[in-house]
């Protein structure tokens, strides 16, 4: 609970309780105007004031007295002092001071007695409740961090699973590099550079200096598609659009890559004629829409390991964003597949 709300709660409660108590007395003594209620209200509010002041002041705890003792003592002192002041000032000018008038002395005694009986105990009660609430808050906060840490750890484990570079892909690419190096082709450098960029994202990163962004993800996706296009120039065309709006948006590694790799593996790879892959990223308000569309074959059962990458991606999405993210998949007639991913456009992980 925040401090302001708590203070209002205390004020409301004290006001109601003290004026209520005074009003009962008013009713018993049949006073026409509820003088008592006003006075007890004043006493209650002063006591509360003392209580709240000593909750903050002195900032450094001097004398080694525990703060709660200070607060209870302050409340205990505030009650008779306020009553004394009230009754002194409430005496009309030409009358005797109240301690010489039996009735009003009795009133004074009564209010002081009740105040001393009730107020410090109430202060103690509030302190105990506050302590409990504080402990609970800490527990909740601790639980939250723990679940956050657990989720991150779980995600890291899944990421490790997803980050397994397919040996088939790797050795085929290396064979291409070898072929280009053997013939002294200037393209050898390009393909090697693209491979390095791709591997940097595909190999699990144990520690990370900065938060992974969608931009980084798009850089690796581009490198991967470049690479595949060099390997099968007659079968793959691609486009990546809309990067500028997404520069700093948080995106866990391999979220987008999984979709693109799937499009290549299940759409382009099995197709004799190949096809094209269009990656598009756009931002509308607080939401980021990512779509990966291909015109490949997707001939069902014949593809290898269908769905395990997507399954891991789904689990990771749930861990990272809960219900704030969505993944929609659909086949396109007659050829192709469309994967749409919606993630919150946040700059920090949830």
């Amino acid at each position: 609970m925040n401090t302001n709300r708590r203070l209002w709660l205390h004020i409301r409660f004290t006001a109601l309780f003290s004026s209520g108590l005074g009003y009962v007395v008013d009713l018993i003594f049949n006073y026409g105007v509820p003088w008592f209620a006003f006075r007890t209200l004043a006493v209650g509010m002063t006591a509360l004031f003392a209580f709240e002041v000593f909750a903050k002041w002195p900032v450094k705890n001097m004398l080694g007295i525990p703060r709660w003792v200070l607060q209870v003592l302050a409340v205990g002192c505030a009650v008779p002092l306020t009553t004394l002041v009230l009754w002194s000032f409430a005496t009309p000018l030409k009358e005797w001071p109240f301690w010489q008038s039996g009735d009003r002395l009795m009133e004074f005694g009564f209010v002081t007695f009740i105040g001393l009986l009730v107020a410090p105990w109430m202060a103690l009660g509030v302190l105990v409740r506050q302590k409990d609430a504080f402990a609970r808050e800490q527990e909740v906060a601790f639980e939250l961090t723990r679940s956050q840490l657990e989720r991150r750890e779980q995600d890291a484990r899944l990421q490790l699973m997803q980050a397994q570079v397919s040996p088939h892909f790797l050795f085929n690419t290396l064979a291409n590099v070898q072929a280009l190096v053997d013939t002294g082709s200037p393209r050898a450098g390009l393909i090697l550079r693209a491979l390095t960029k791709y591997l940097r994202s595909a190999v699990p990163r144990i520690s990370q200096d900065s938060l992974p962004t969608l931009h980084q993800e798009l850089v690796s996706v581009r490198a991967y598609l470049d690479l595949m296009q060099m390997r099968m120039p007659d079968r793959l065309e691609y486009s990546v659009t809309g990067e500028t709006a997404t520069e700093h948006i948080f995106c866990p590694p391999l979220f987008l890559m999984t979709l693109v790799e799937n499009a290549v593996r299940h759409g382009i790879d099995p197709s004799e004629t190949g096809g094209r892959i269009d990656v598009d990223v756009r931002r509308t308000g607080s939401c980021c829409h990512i779509s990966v569309k291909d015109t490949g074959a997707w001939n069902g059962g014949k593809t290898h390991g269908t769905g395990s990458g997507l399954k891991t991606l789904r689990t990771r999405l749930k861990l990272t964003y809960g219900k704030k993210a969505a993944l929609r998949l659909q086949y396109i007639e007659p050829n192709g597949f469309l994967a749409e991913l919606e993630i919150p456009a946040e700059h920090e992980p949830a």
């Binding site: 064979a175 291409n176 099995p270 074959a297 390991g305 997507l310 219900k323 086949y331």
Partner: protein, 258 residues
Amino acid sequence: MTTALIADDEPLLREALMRQLAKAWPKLEIVAQARNGREAIELFELHKPDICFLDIQMPGMSGVEAAQVIGRRAHIVFVTAYDQFAVQAFAAGVLDYLVKPVEPARLNETIERLKDRLAMTARAINSKKLIEELNCQLQNSSSPEYLSWLRVRIGIKVHVIAVEDIDYFQSEDKYTRLCWRSATETFSEGLLRTPIKGLLPQLDPNQFVQIHRSAIVNLSSISHVIRGQNDTGTAYFTGCNKTLPISRAHFSQFRTLL
């Protein structure tokens, strides 16, 4: 003169093998280059080469499937980037294979063996049985244990739905109606052409349970079950007011699971 065919879907790798062969075996004539299994067979029928170098993973028809068609009419050398398949057949030395990128020493060994075989017999020794075995391994490596995705047609769209998002399947004549919820907790329905009987063995029994002759439910979407008379019951789903009856025959089985 000895003739050969090379099949690989990646042009750079075809060229690389051509170059290496030209160096190591100048007398070999490469009569055809194929980009996939289907082309390999077409070109094989056209040129009838003595040797076929076949990449295992190619679009459409794989190298192994092409080898099955070619049979013993040519000596077959498989080329693969990663020998995850078929280790036994290869290790026995019955089938020849090369690993990409191709090592010159390894290529020379293969060439020597091919020359020996060409001199010895008229027919290739690649046994049909071994190639079939290879093909089986290739196919099996991709079959998942249980379904994790389903294709559902709604109008002209074919959606792909994660099985764990599905609340229940309900039999409807020859078809199966299924209800699922998306990430934003909206409910949708669709029809599958598979009858419910054919679906059950493909679903993870720890998650999906049959509760009626005509219904299979996802255990994690059930909020509670109310017991009725004679060991029957009604299943309620979280987040929607849909209910399904549990039949007597399936109630006991269902109870042990909960």
